[in-house]
Amino acid sequence: MLRFFVLSSLAAFSCFSFGQNLLIKNGIILTVTKGTIPKGDVLIIGGIIKQIGENIPAPEGIKIIDATGKYVIPGIIDSHTHIALIGTNESSEPITPEVKMRDVLNAEDTSIYTALSGGVTMVHTMHGSANPIGGENIVLKMKWGKTSEEMIVHEALRTLKFALGENPKQANVAGMGTLRYPQSRMGVNAIIRRELSKAKNYMEQWDRYLRAKRSKNPPKNLTPPRKDLRMEQLADLLRGKMVARCHSYRADESLEFVSLSKEFGFKVACFEHIPEAFKITKELAAEGIGISIFLDSWAYKVEASEGIAYNAAYCTQKGILVSLNSDGGERIRRLFNDAAKAMKYGGLSEDEALKLVTINPAVQLGVDRIAGSLEVGKQGDIAIFNEHPLSAYTRCDMTIIEGDVYFDRAQYLKEREEMEKKKKEDELKKKGGKK
């Protein structure tokens, strides 16, 4: 169902950065979707995976990464975070779909590097949850050092942030936070309904105008309606050009939102966080709605007090598309640890666990054609770990995007060593000078 929307927003925007050539040799290849190769190679030409297999001959002059004894997995995709942006919320008003993360990118955010150190190659960076209707999100590749434009993943679905529950109703904000409508869940629903109704009205006004304009005898003095960016965004949602990604916690508010989505005919791609998803697996599976969640962070708010660690595994087993997210710049470094916990809490298999941070978020974001697994034809987004990625003892040693090495622990260690050496030399000089 999501592919329909993928097609409508596909664009061949690969003109900016041409990928590199790279051959990764002798690693333990975990493709995630097509099994494991105990000792194999991955060949990337022009940033695209051209071959996966054993003993791939090296084209002349190609850069070779020796992955002997290391685990080669698809680059991790964080389906919900707030990094690489200036600001997170336009919280002065409750309804702000006109704001776009595209307009406030910050390619110099060190969190991008932090993400790379955790094997993350792509993120869905979003408006915060301060508003019932937030803004338009964006998907970025973690191309540290490149310009912001080069990081944008144009193939991704257009997504609009919604939020329900304590955050948009400002339940945990003291003082000034008790004055902005809405202050209750019923208000949150009502305001979303109001704005979508306004948007429908807006669309109708434009339809009438366009019909009149195209008619055989358009009326004299025909004027178009005022173009309203806020309404345009909601109209795009109603027309199916954008999907809703809705932050919710409780099962009940999530179901209310599903009803709203049916009332107005828009697509809910994912519920974000939703610790109570395990209570409504039937409805979520039936509607084809995915979830993007923490594995075990809970009890920090009342609405998170029934968040169980089995959520991810159980929902997966009930046919829901589940991804794990960081919601920030710290947890982003250990998404693979969270994936491992889904084996302990619920019994997912290794591949199922790895999918939670690779192909699943790729599908949710509409980029599974280009990323999320190690398959020929996909982009060369890869993370290399020194131990099995689901082991607590593992460490990401290298992160590659489209054949370019963006994070290399060996290089980092070398640079640190040189820096320490220089510092010691400087200190000796100072001491020498003092004498």
């Binding site: 590097y113 209570k279 697996t281 075990d296 009890a299 920090y300 607590a392 460490r395």
Partner: protein
């Protein structure tokens, strides 16, 4: 008729004795066939642990199992000492955003009189979750102000606070004044910090003199007895060296100041946090002061410390010879204690040392190593049986014995899951 009555009576008695038997744990339990990792001493392949009256009676390869022992077949499993969380809010926090459910912090700058164990909520939903992951004891600790209060040691089992408390008071928590800008917090001016350290010194000095006056007055009843001073009273064990202080401190120069402070004031000390400890490893080693690490789920304060500064910190300090322990610094994520240790092992700490950092080292640091921290004869039977390495994320815990009792491993997680599995 009589036969029927007799049968009913017999059944009744049987049920009664059966239920009575359930009330009491079996006096002798033998865990048989597991690979034993005692942490102190060599690993034992397919060994036997004998539990008597809540204590480890024997551990070894060839241990005689008494006839009346309850035998738990543990072939293919691994036996570890129960883990100890060295800085925890278990039982003190329920839902962190709701003040009414948070009792880990008091208002005011000097609160040596408050005891974390006196705010314990044994019904906390977080305790079974942590216990189910192999944590059997925790140091619960108050925060806030300069002198936050007394940390206590609890077992993760018990219906009432009394049943949970192992030691009322294991350390006095001091949140050391910081001159360094740390994680976005603006630095206090140096004068302000020195002022606060001076205040602490003054307070300790007053405590010493208060103690002396009291002692003398007790011996000679003609002398005036000083007024009861709550603050000074509870600092007496600290200045005596009876109660160690656990000093929260992060930046390198603050660590040095704290070490000097402890030395000058002749305090038994433990350092907590020490995220920049790797910069002053030598100084910490030379001071002989052990450290407890906070949660490793944190970002380095300075970019040029390196992205892995927090992760490699334990390895560096361990290599320098500093005694250390790990903590969860949490209630809801106390269960992640072993994963902080494993993360440190991923970045340079020896794996066995990491295991010790959640077992024997915390026991030693808090002076309870005679009763816990390893699988040794005479210690409490705090034992974890797992299907793999307990520091590993994918390991499943099968049994958690706390003082010989095979505790319930289900928590709100399982309750809610089962409830909603029934939906359809």
């Amino acid at each position: 008729m009589r036969k029927r009555a007799f049968i009913f009576a017999a059944i009744f008695v049987l049920c009664l004795s059966f239920s009575l038997a359930q009330e009491k744990s079996p006096r002798i339990i033998a865990i048989k066939g597991a690979k034993i990792i005692p942490v102190v001493g060599e690993d034992i392949e397919e060994g036997i642990i004998l539990i008597k009256e809540g204590k480890i009676d024997d551990v070894g390869k060839a241990v005689t199992i008494p006839a009346d022992a309850q035998v738990i077949e543990a072939k293919g499993l691994f036996a570890y000492p129960g883990m100890i969380d060295s800085f925890s809010f278990l039982g003190l926090q329920e839902i962190t955003a709701v003040r009414a459910t948070v009792d880990s912090s008091e208002t005011g700058r000097f609160n040596p009189q408050v005891r974390a164990v006196e705010a314990l909520r044994p019904d906390s939903m977080h305790i079974p979750v942590a216990r189910a992951n192999g944590i059997t004891a925790a140091v619960v600790i108050p925060t806030g102000g300069l002198i936050s209060g007394q940390a206590g040691l609890i077992r993760l089992a018990g219906w009432t606070p009394d049943e949970m408390v192992v030691k009322n008071s294991v350390a006095m928590h001091i949140q050391f004044p910081s001159i360094s800008r740390f994680r976005g917090r603006e630095a206090q001016p140096r004068e302000e910090t020195s002022k606060q350290v001076e205040e602490l010194r003054e307070l300790l000095k007053k405590a010493r003199s208060y103690q002396k006056i009291k002692e003398v007055a007790q011996k000679n009843t003609l002398l005036p007895l000083p007024e009861f001073d709550e603050t000074l009273e509870f600092l007496i064990p600290v200045v005596n060296g009876q109660l160690p202080v656990i000093i929260s401190v992060q930046a390198d120069n603050d660590i040095k100041t704290a070490i000097k402070f402890a030395k000058d004031e002749k305090l038994r000390a433990i350092l907590f946090g020490v995220t920049e400890g790797w910069k002053v490893a030598e100084e910490i080693k030379n001071s002989g002061i052990p450290v407890v690490f906070g949660s490793l789920y944190a970002m380095p304060s300075k970019w040029d410390d390196g992205y892995d500064a927090i992760y490699r910190n334990p390895g560096v300090l361990a290599k320098a010879g500093v005694k250390f322990a790990f903590s969860s610094s949490s209630a809801s994520l106390a269960k992640d204690l072993p994963y902080h240790a494993a993360k440190a092992a991923a970045f340079g700490l020896d794996r066995r040392e990491a295991l010790k950092g959640v077992t024997i080292y915390p026991a030693q640091i808090f002076g309870v190593d005679e009763m816990m921290g390893s699988l040794e004869k005479g210690k409490k039977a705090n034992i974890v049986l797992a299907d793999g390495d307990i520091l590993e994320l994918r390991t499943n815990i099968k049994h958690v014995f706390i003082e010989g009792k095979d505790t319930k491993l289900s928590s709100i997680y399982e309750e809610l899951l089962e409830k909603f599995k029934k939906r359809y």
